[in-house]
Structures are given as structure tokens and as C-alpha cells.
Symmetry: C2
Subunit: 210 residues, 2 copies
Amino acid sequence: MTTPSVPIPTLRRLPRYYQYLSGLRAAGQERVSAAHMAEVLGVHHTQVRKDLTMAGCLGRPKTGHRVADLIAAIEGFLHWDSHSDAFLVGAGSLGTALLKYPGFEKAGARIVAAFDNDPAKAGHRIGDTPVLPLEKFANLAERMHISVGILTVPPAAAQATADLMVASGIRALWNFAPVTLDLPSHVIVENLELFTSLALLLRRLSDSSS
Amino acid sequence: MTTPSVPIPTLRRLPRYYQYLSGLRAAGQERVSAAHMAEVLGVHHTQVRKDLTMAGCLGRPKTGHRVADLIAAIEGFLHWDSHSDAFLVGAGSLGTALLKYPGFEKAGARIVAAFDNDPAKAGHRIGDTPVLPLEKFANLAERMHISVGILTVPPAAAQATADLMVASGIRALWNFAPVTLDLPSHVIVENLELFTSLALLLRRLSDSSS
DNA sequence: TAGATTGTTAATCGATTAACAATC
DNA sequence: TAGATTGTTAATCGATTAACAATC
């Protein structure tokens, strides 16, 4: 509600640790030291320790951490051991890609239905997920107590669609439209900014060439 | 090459300013004050001024900034007034979504060809972009002096594909696979982390409920 | 015990915010 | 001129890094 006790940068690093640790586990490695993780992932070793401590991981001096324990702790901390049901609005190419993208359920969210205002899209399934007409959103979201929404509509429709979603009880919105949404302060918005990410890449490229 | 002179957070905010300013311009507004932008975008007004100064924008006391000047300055600063040619590898659903996504050219990159190792996909077009067999990547990338690559293959194939791309002259890699790539230090990697973004959203949601 | 590794407390660094001077 | 807004210099704050104590 107020300032989150966990620093955002820590939260950003944990999934990387998780991904690396999963690889170790798949390779059958049982133990790992913070120093080794730091080395491979390009993070300061003290940072790794702090982050792991935040996630509630305890290691043992001399032997390090058990890979399985780390994975379990991070999973629990990020709530990746359970999942919330989510509704997606905007079954265009980006929405379709997300519906087909494997692993969201493992990452805490399960997309249980998609919506689109194009009647031609409604009634089909994309992957395993049914696509419904947008009119059904409000009623279903309320009945199913959905609190997570994913917004993949064109920029021009983003604000109005977000308003509809919030009015239907959505409290957390994953926004893929390149628009700053104006929503009540109790709604949590996470913007996935494709253009920003691309801009960063290109800017760093031109900085490095000069 | 060394530390970029422009703070990353500034670079992240500039596209948001740009998007907001475009809206103002479309609405026919000619001038805007930093304080007003700060208010609407939820950024401290001093921050807005600092960011705009970084991007080379000059305003006039009392009257503020001209919207058109701000847009032009940010465009130039982010290199959004020109574009680099880019190759995309991995024409799955995510790759397809990017190929159909409007506006990358405006944001500095034009995807001129896509590649996939599935022969069934080669030979078609997705949107306006031809899809070619992966074997052709190296030769074409070198001949066309492509330096920007977009990686949308499954995680298991990401490292090997990235190696191939770098060996063919790619110097900047926009990576959508949830994998930490191990590449030569001269290669610039920008990871677009879907799972991390989702994790942040869900974590903030659970923090706010408790 | 000695050595390695953890976890914590202190110092540094960079970004944000506050205070203020400049100017149209 | 007075007022509004800019741009800059100083203070704060938080994250990162460094130093060190704890422990298996």
C-alpha cells in the first residue's frame, strides 16, 4: 500500500536468479554459492546475498546454498507457486502471442479468457483460451472475482478499455499499450514498454559506436 | 562504451514524455510547461526539467516549452528520426506479433527480414516482411551490414541462435527469451523480460492487499 | 584449527527532490 | 514591474559496493 518493503531492483533480479537456478537444477547441481551466481549473472556478490536474504533464503557458511531451497524460496516469494486467474482484452497479434506463450501460469497468472470487440474473433479459441465478446467482460469478471487484467488493445482504445476493466473489478493491470493510463490510485498498473526497451537498445548502440 | 552519460531512468522516461506530447500535438496544443507534464505523468517537476535538458530541450521562462520543439528534440535524442535495419529470428507467435506491430520504424528500427529454422515458415511473408530459412541469416546479415537483431526463439534455442547472430555481425540484440545470454562484451543486449514484468505486477498486488 | 562462505553493518555512489537564482 | 516559469546548485534519499564479523 505504502512503499513496498522490497526494492524494485531486487524484484527485477529475482526472476533472473530463478531462471539460472532452474538451469542448474536441470543439470543436476545441488549446491551453489552466492559468489558463483554473482559471477555468472554479472551482479555484485553482496547484492546477490542481499537479494536472496530478502527472498528468505538461508545458506550455510562453507557449503553455500542448496539449489532446490533457493528455487522454492524464490517461487514462494514471487508467488510463483500459485496463480491468479486473469482476463486478457485485445485478441490481436500481440494478445494472440501472449495467449500462446508458455509459462505464464508458472509465473503466477493463468489467462482464463480473452475478449475482443471484433465479433469475428469471438467464439473461437486461441490456444486453449476462449475468446468472448467484450460485452461479456463486466459480468464475467465480477462473477469470477477476477482481479488481474491484461491489456493488448490498440493505443487509441486503451484508456476506455482500461476504464471498463477497472469498473468491473480489475485491481491489477498489465498494460502493453504505449499509453500512460489515467486510473484510480488503488489500481496497480505495470506497463510493458516495448518502445522504451527498443529505444534503450538503440541508444546504447549509438553511444558505444561513438 | 564506458558509463553512458545519460541516466537510464531518464532514457526510460523520455518515451513517455514523447507519447504524451504527441497527444498534445494531435489536440492542437502548442505550448506546455514542465510543471504540467510533471502533474499529468506523475513525475517530479524538477525531474521533468532535468530530463528535458538532457534531451537538449530549451524552454522559455513564463511561456514554457513549444510542444513541437520538445517532440523534435526527443525524437532526435532517441534517434527516432531515423531508423536502423534489423533482422528478427524466430517467427513463432511472439515474432509474428512483433512483425505485425505498428510503429517500430518510428521508434528507430525497421525489421527488414525474419528468419526461422522451420522450413514450413520460410518463403511466406508475415505482414510485409519476408520469412527466410535460418541458413541465410549469416550471409545476408553480413552483406547488408545489419547490426540490430531481435531474438524471439524458444529459450532452449536462444543461446545458440544468439551466438550465430553475433558471429554474423550483430552488435545489438533485443532478446525476448527468458534467458541470460552469455555473449562477448562488445555486444549490447537488451532483455525484454515478460515474466519479470508480470512478477512485479503480481507482487505489488499482493503487497497492496495485505 | 584453518578456510570458505555467509550475513550484516558502514561507506559510497547516483538519482531524486528541494531550494534558489535567472529571465522572459 | 510583478509573476510565472525555466534551469541550476545543494540536500536528501535509496541502492550499490566495501569492509567485516559470524559460523559451519
